[in-house]
Amino acid sequence: MSAQPLSPASAAHELVRAESVGSGPPSRLAGWGRLSVPGREQLSENLESASVGAVLSRGLGRSYGDSSLPANPADKVLGTRLANRILHFDDQTGVLRAEAGLSLAELNRLFIPRGWFTPVTPGTKFVTLGGMVASDVHGKNHHIDGCFGAHVRTLRIRLADNRVVECSPTQDADLFYGTIGGMGLLGHVLEVEFAFHRITSPWIYMESERVPDVDEFLQSLTRAAGNFPMSMGWIDCLSRGRSMGRGIMMAGRWAMPGEAPSLPPVEAKKRSFPIELPNFALNPLTASLFNTAYYFRHLRRKASGVVGPDPFFYPLDAILNWNRAYGPRGFTQYQCVIPRAAGAPAVREFMQLLTKLGGASPLCVIKDCGPEGKGVLSFPLEGTSIAVDMAVAPGLQGIIDRLNEFVIAAKGRIYLAKDRFTRAAHFRAMEPRLPAFLALREKWDPERRLRSAQSQRLFGDQA
C-alpha cells in the first residue's frame, strides 16, 4: 500500500478504507420506511474505482422498502451521494451528464433559475440520478412525458464482471432498458446523461379542486390530464360511505412569464421533524382528524394561483425526516397501478378494499398514468396509480397480501421502489415481464453477484 502514489485525496481514502472496513461496531442501513437491516454503506467520491466488488449501489436511501439494502450484512454497499459532479452541460440543448450521486435537489437549485428542469421528477427531490434511473421514477407529468428513463440518453455502468460499459438506446440497448427500472441489479450506474426540459418561468400555475367522492375524482383526474401537463390528487382513504374517496385534485403547468412574479421563488427554510414520535402518535383517530382538516382547509371548491416548484412538486420535503412521525416501528408505502382496461369500477373496488382493511394513514396519492415505458421492469402502465402509506403493524402482511391479490386479478402491478412486503409468488403472478428481466440478469450477471435484500426476497437470490 505504501507503494501507492501519494495523493492529497484518493490515495488517502484508500488507506483509510483498507484499515477500517469490517472493523468497528456493526451498523444498520434502512430505507425511507425506517425498517433496518445490518449492513454498512461505503461512501465514495470515485464510483469508478469504488464500484469494483460492490454488490449494490445506494443513493440517498429514499426508496421506502428494501431495494437499497444489502441481502447480507457483509455485502459491499456503495454509497454514491458524494459522487456528485456535473461532467458536461450544453446550454443550447439542455443535455447534461453527471456522476450518479448528484441529487435532484442540487440540479433544481442550479438549473431552475436558468430555465431548465428535469423532464421527470418524483415526489421528493432528495434522490440521486442513479436512483432515478434504477427506479425509473415517474411524476405528475407521466401521462405526457413518461418516466425519467425515457429522457436518458446514455448510462455508464460497472457490470458484475467488473467491466465498465456505456449503453444507450442504440448501444447494448437490452442492458440500457434493463437498467432503467432495474433496481440496480444489472450494474452500478456510474454516470447518467439526459436532456433537461425548457421551462417558461421558475413558477407553476396551479389549479386545485375539492372533490366529494371517488367516482367524481376519477372523472376529474381524466379531465385534468387532458387540460394540464401535470396532475395528481390526494385522497382521504379513511372516510367511508358516501364520501369515500373524497379528496383534493391538483393540476398545473409551468407559468408563462407574464403571469408569474418577476423574481424567482425563495426557497423556504427547511424544518426538520424534531423528534421520533412514539408508535401510537399516528393512529386511526389522529389520521382521520388530519385528513378531515386537510380536506376542509381547501375552503373553496376550486382554487388557482401561481406557486413555487417546491410546494407543488415536493410538499413533504418541506419537513426533513418526516418519516420520524411513524415512530420506531417504521412504515411502508403500498403503490400499485390498476390498468385502464379494468376501468373505474376496479379503482372504486380497490378503494373500498383499502378502507375496509384499514391500516392506511393520511397520505394517499392518486395519479393517471400514461402508456408503459421501455424499462423492462419499469412500474407505470396506462391506468390509475394509487399510493398509500401504512405503519408497520401486526396485520400489515395480511393487508398487503389482500391488496396484491386484488392487483393481480386486475392485471396491475406494484412499484418496487416502495415495496418491502410483497411475496415472491405474488410478484411473479403480477409481473409477466419477469422472465425477460431474469434473462437479462442471466446474460449480464449470470452469477447473480449484484443483489439486494429485495432481490433476495422477490427473485430468490442467495444472501
Partner: protein
C-alpha cells in the same frame, strides 16, 4: 476573489470551490490527477451562473519542486490571484501509521513539511502584491496530543502553530491567514470510518469557511460545536487523557 484551491477536486475543497464559483468568484484548481481536474473543472463551469471556464494545473503535495510552477500557472490564468485555499492533505488511521513507518514518514512530510513549503510559496507571492487571503486546513487533531491521532495530530499541530505565527507576523502587512480546524466531516477522506457525534457535511464546512474568510478570522472550528469540544479536551488533566480513548 481570484482564488487558487489546492485539493479542490474532492471533499471540502470541492464544496468550497463550488461556493466560490456560484457567488461569482474566479477559481483555479490544483490537484494531482489530470482526469479529476478535468471533471472538477467541468463541474465548476456548470455551477457558474454564466458558465465561465475554470482553469486547473497539476500539483502534487508529494512534489514540492512543482509548487512554484503550479502557482505561476494559476497566477497567469487568473491575472493575479488574491486568495489561496489549501485543503489537500493526507490521512491515515493511527493503526495504519503505527504499522508502517514509511507511511508515517510520508504523512508527516506531506501534512507538515510540504504543506508549509507550499504556504511559503503562496505567502511570498501574496505579500509581494500587498497581501491577500491564505486559508489552510489544519485539524482539531492538532489541538491536543490524543491517542487516536497521535501522528496525524502532531503534523497538524505543527501546521496550526505555523499558521498562527504567520498571522502574527504578517497581519499588518495585509495577509489574512485563516487556520481551519474541521472536526469529523463526512467526505471521501473519512469514508469507512464510523462518524462520531457532531460529524459535519462538506458543504456546511465550506459555508463556515467562506464566512470566516470574508470576516478575515484567524481561526475557525467547523462544525462550530468543535470549538467547545476542543476547549474541554484541552483543559482535561493528563491523568484523564491517559485513561480515555478520545
Amino acid at each position: 476573489m481570484k482564488a487558487i484551491v489546492f485539493g479542490g477536486t474532492s471533499g471540502i475543497g470541492r464544496a468550497i470551490a463550488r461556493r466560490l464559483v456560484e457567488r461569482g468568484d474566479q477559481v483555479f484548481l490544483l490537484g494531482n490527477e489530470a482526469a479529476e481536474l478535468e471533471k472538477s473543472a467541468s463541474d465548476l463551469k456548470a455551477h457558474h451562473p454564466a458558465g465561465a471556464k475554470c482553469g486547473s494545473a497539476l500539483c502534487d503535495l508529494a512534489f514540492p519542486e512543482g509548487f512554484a510552477a503550479a502557482l505561476d500557472a494559476a497566477d497567469t490564468e487568473l491575472g493575479g490571484f488574491d486568495t489561496v485555499v489549501v485543503t489537500a492533505a493526507m490521512f491515515a488511521t493511527q493503526e495504519a501509521l503505527e504499522a508502517d513507518i514509511e507511511l508515517t514518514r510520508k504523512l508527516v512530510t506531506l501534512d507538515y513539511a510540504n504543506t508549509l513549503v507550499f504556504c511559503e510559496h503562496a505567502r511570498k507571492r501574496l505579500l509581494a502584491r500587498g497581501g491577500g487571503r491564505l486559508t489552510v486546513f489544519s485539524s482539531v487533531a492538532g489541538d491536543r496530543g490524543r491517542k487516536p491521532v497521535a501522528i496525524y495530530g502532531s503534523a497538524k499541530a505543527g501546521l496550526s502553530i505555523y499558521l498562527e505565527a504567520l498571522d502574527h507576523k504578517y497581519h499588518e502587512a495585509g495577509l489574512a491567514v485563516l487556520c481551519v480546524k474541521p472536526g469529523f466531516v463526512k467526505t471521501g477522506m473519512t469514508a469507512g470510518l464510523k462518524p462520531p457525534p457532531f460529524a459535519g457535511e462538506p458543504d456546511q464546512v465550506a459555508r463556515d469557511v467562506l464566512r470566516a474568510m470574508d470576516k478575515r478570522q484567524a481561526v475557525v472550528y467547523t462544525p462550530h460545536i468543535w470549538a467547545l469540544v476542543m476547549l474541554v479536551i484541552r483543559s482535561l488533566p493528563r491523568f484523564i487523557m491517559r485513561k480515555i480513548g478520545f
